[in-house]
């Protein structure tokens, strides 16, 4: 039977809608809420959205890498926590801020390395290994804290408060990283190899791709992103709070998939995908907060959006088989 598809037979409108659902929802959001409240379309409010969205975006970019490779990283939230606790530790030892930052990043990348090694050696889908490392990272983080709170030194607040023009500096850094990541994914050899691995590991091996190395690469990148997110969050709370990261991986996955990544691998973009997905989540929360809506609504709205996105993603995937 001929498995070919007649491209002429497909409804072009339906295709366009399916592929661009996220942008349509985004624009719709902007329009609707600009009408509902005048406070929405102000620099300071948009700055807040960018601020909270950028944290999710950092995590989402990391998640995009592992998703494209056909895996996932459930441990991102706890890696974020662990990195922040290490920064706190360095601070307690009297290290200056740059050292604290580098320390956090190093720990985050080491966590990612562990994930990569596990996934590489076990040669299984990353869900279970990263679920396990999730608990490990949290324990390590709590141990680093000891029986003390994770309060950060006073100058730590600059990470999240320093502004460049109307927006916080870290937002620019985060967006630049997303752009860089996208270039890396689309325009470099390694980037293409990540897609190949996610498309078909067996074929990738046959074609001589070092899948083990690719796995390490994507998880270390994911750990790096987690560390960066941890820097910002711990700066906002001025402590390596134990509430950091508990549900983060869920929003990271949600943002990545909203932005076009697929849980089946070989698909996804850091920019505009992860960026748009993260901003949409931030916008939802912002809208609920601005309008003083019932706090119970948050969970319901998220649940509906997750379902819609999942259904669309699976429908697209089935159609493409």
């Amino acid at each position: 039977m001929d498995k070919g598809k007649s491209l002429l037979g497909r409804n072009p409108t339906k295709s366009f809608l399916q592929n661009n659902v996220i942008y349509i929802i985004l624009i719709g959001y902007f329009v609707i809420f600009s009408f509902i409240t005048p406070r929405f379309f102000t620099i300071s409010n948009l700055s807040n959205v960018l601020r909270s969205g950028s944290v999710t975006m950092l995590l989402a970019v990391g998640m995009v890498f592992t998703l494209i490779a056909g895996h996932i990283d459930i441990s991102m939230g706890m890696n974020m926590f662990m990195s922040a606790t290490f920064a706190c530790f360095c601070g307690r030892m009297g290290a200056p801020m740059p050292v604290m930052v580098l320390g956090a990043i190093a720990v985050g990348m080491l966590g990612g390395l562990l994930n990569g090694l596990l996934v590489g050696f076990l040669d299984t889908y990353a869900m279970l290994p990263t679920m396990a490392t999730q608990f490990l990272f949290r324990s390590i983080g709590l141990t680093i804290l000891g029986k003390r709170t994770g309060i950060m030194p006073a100058d730590w607040s600059s990470i999240s408060t320093v502004k460049l023009g109307p927006f916080p500096l870290f937002v620019y850094i985060a967006v630049s990283l997303a752009l860089l990541a996208q270039v890396f994914l689309n325009e470099t050899k390694t980037g293409r190899r990540i897609f190949a691995l996610g498309d078909n590991q067996k074929t990738a091996i046959e074609k001589g791709i070092h899948v083990f190395r690719i796995k390490i690469t994507v998880f270390v990148i994911s750990g790096f992103m987690a560390a960066l997110a941890g820097l910002v969050l711990s700066s906002q709370a001025m402590e390596a709070s134990t509430s950091i990261g508990i549900t983060s991986h869920t929003y990271a996955i949600l943002a990545a998939v909203l932005g076009g990544a697929s849980l089946h691998g070989a698909k996804g973009t850091a920019f505009p995908g992860a960026f748009v997905g993260a901003m949409l989540i931030a916008l939802m929360s912002n809208a609920l907060g601005l309008t003083g809506a019932s706090p119970y609504l948050y969970q319901i709205v998220y649940a509906i959006v997750i379902l819609v996105v999942y259904v669309l993603d699976t429908a697209k995937h089935k159609e493409n088989l």
């Binding site: 709370a237 134990t242 907060g289």
Partner: protein, 340 residues
């Protein structure tokens, strides 16, 4: 044949499990006959080791343990209600004679209380009331609703002191699922009208620093930056609140123009520090040390054969303004100052 064997095995496991717990109850009972010169074994279950409050509970318990000749076993559940239940069950199995619990989840703890009652072990619950109080022997806490009222009154005091006439307050609520947080909220709302507090926005922090930060930002936006007071439910969030204010250019010491009058709760080291630094007007101290001291004392008494006088043990709230913070060395916020 295989099917029948599997069924039988499954059934026997169930029977053993049921029988197991009742066995524990019978071995625990004889231990209570000890006289008052033997150390009593008491278990303490707390939610975390890294929040000021929980640390305070543990330290207070250890101090009380020495004072009342108690062998103390502490278990830490790290914000996981299921883990707390497991740990409590382990304590029961290890044959403790009394248990003090600071519950993580008011719903989930009900099951644990039932098991404790079945094992016939005297218990004291600290700080957070379970939704089902039937199995609770004694409850040590501040009167959360009253604390809420005190917070509101303290806020009015602070506003008067620093020349704020019309109070526009952003109220941060701990979590909708947390009974004691909701009681505080109720207390505030009981008196806000007669005190003239206008709550311009409410923030649900879900006890998460990230959510608190983002939603506080949204709330500040929603009221257009037109607010001059904040009620913060716990010092756990105070650094986040101040950081958020700083990002909005509203972090000022009391007495300077545009300063926001903040009242917080718990009296934890981080809160007390901010009071001393004039960023926070007052924090309502509910002394963590005192919670566990009262709990341990009560348990020790019961185990040694004395009768329980009052199942509802009230911890008095103390308003810690700057004067109090600077002079009262005994409050746990000062004892623990290095934890700020």
């Amino acid at each position: 044949m295989k099917k029948i064997i599997s069924l039988v095995c499954a059934l026997s496991l169930v029977l053993v499990a049921c029988g197991g717990t009742s066995n524990n109850a019978s071995t625990a009972a004889p231990a209570t006959a000890g006289g008052s010169d033997e150390p009593v074994r008491i278990g303490l279950s707390v939610a975390s080791e890294t929040t000021n409050f929980s640390q305070g509970l543990v330290v207070g318990a250890r101090m009380a343990a020495e004072k009342y000749d108690v062998e103390l076993q502490v278990v830490v559940a790290d914000m996981d209600a299921a883990k707390q239940q497991q740990q409590c069950e382990t304590l029961i199995a290890q044959g403790i004679q009394g248990i003090a619990i600071s519950p993580i989840d008011a719903d989930a703890i009900g099951e644990t209380m039932r098991k404790i009652r079945e094992a016939d072990i005297p218990n004291v619950v600290i700080d957070r009331a379970p939704n089902d109080m039937t199995n609770v022997d004694a409850f040590v806490a501040a009167d959360d609703e009253q604390v809420g009222e005190i917070m509101a009154q303290t806020l009015v005091e602070g506003c008067e002191k620093y020349g704020v006439d019309e109070i526009k307050c952003i109220e941060i609520v701990g979590s909708l699922k947390d009974n004691s947080a909701m009681l505080k909220d109720k207390g505030i709302h009981n008196v806000k009208d007669e005190l003239g507090i206008n709550i311009v926005a409410q923030v649900n922090s879900e006890w998460d620093t990230e959510s608190c930060y983002n939603r506080l930002n949204d709330a500040i936006e929603a009221c257009g930056g037109d607010f001059n007071a904040i009620i913060c439910p716990s010092d756990f969030l105070i650094n986040t609140v101040l950081s958020c204010l700083e990002a909005n250019g509203k972090k000022h010491t009391l007495g300077t123009a545009g300063a926001v009058i903040i009242v917080s709760g718990d009296g934890a080291p981080s809160g007390v520090k901010m009071v001393k630094e004039d960023y926070v007007y007052a924090t309502i101290n509910t002394d963590a040390f005192l919670y566990t001291e009262l709990a341990i004392k009560t348990l020790a008494d019961i185990i040694r054969g004395n009768e329980l006088e009052n199942p509802r043990i009230l911890v008095q709230a103390l308003v810690v303004t700057k004067e109090v913070a600077m002079t009262n060395e005994e409050i746990w916020g000062n004892v623990f100052a290095d934890q700020a």
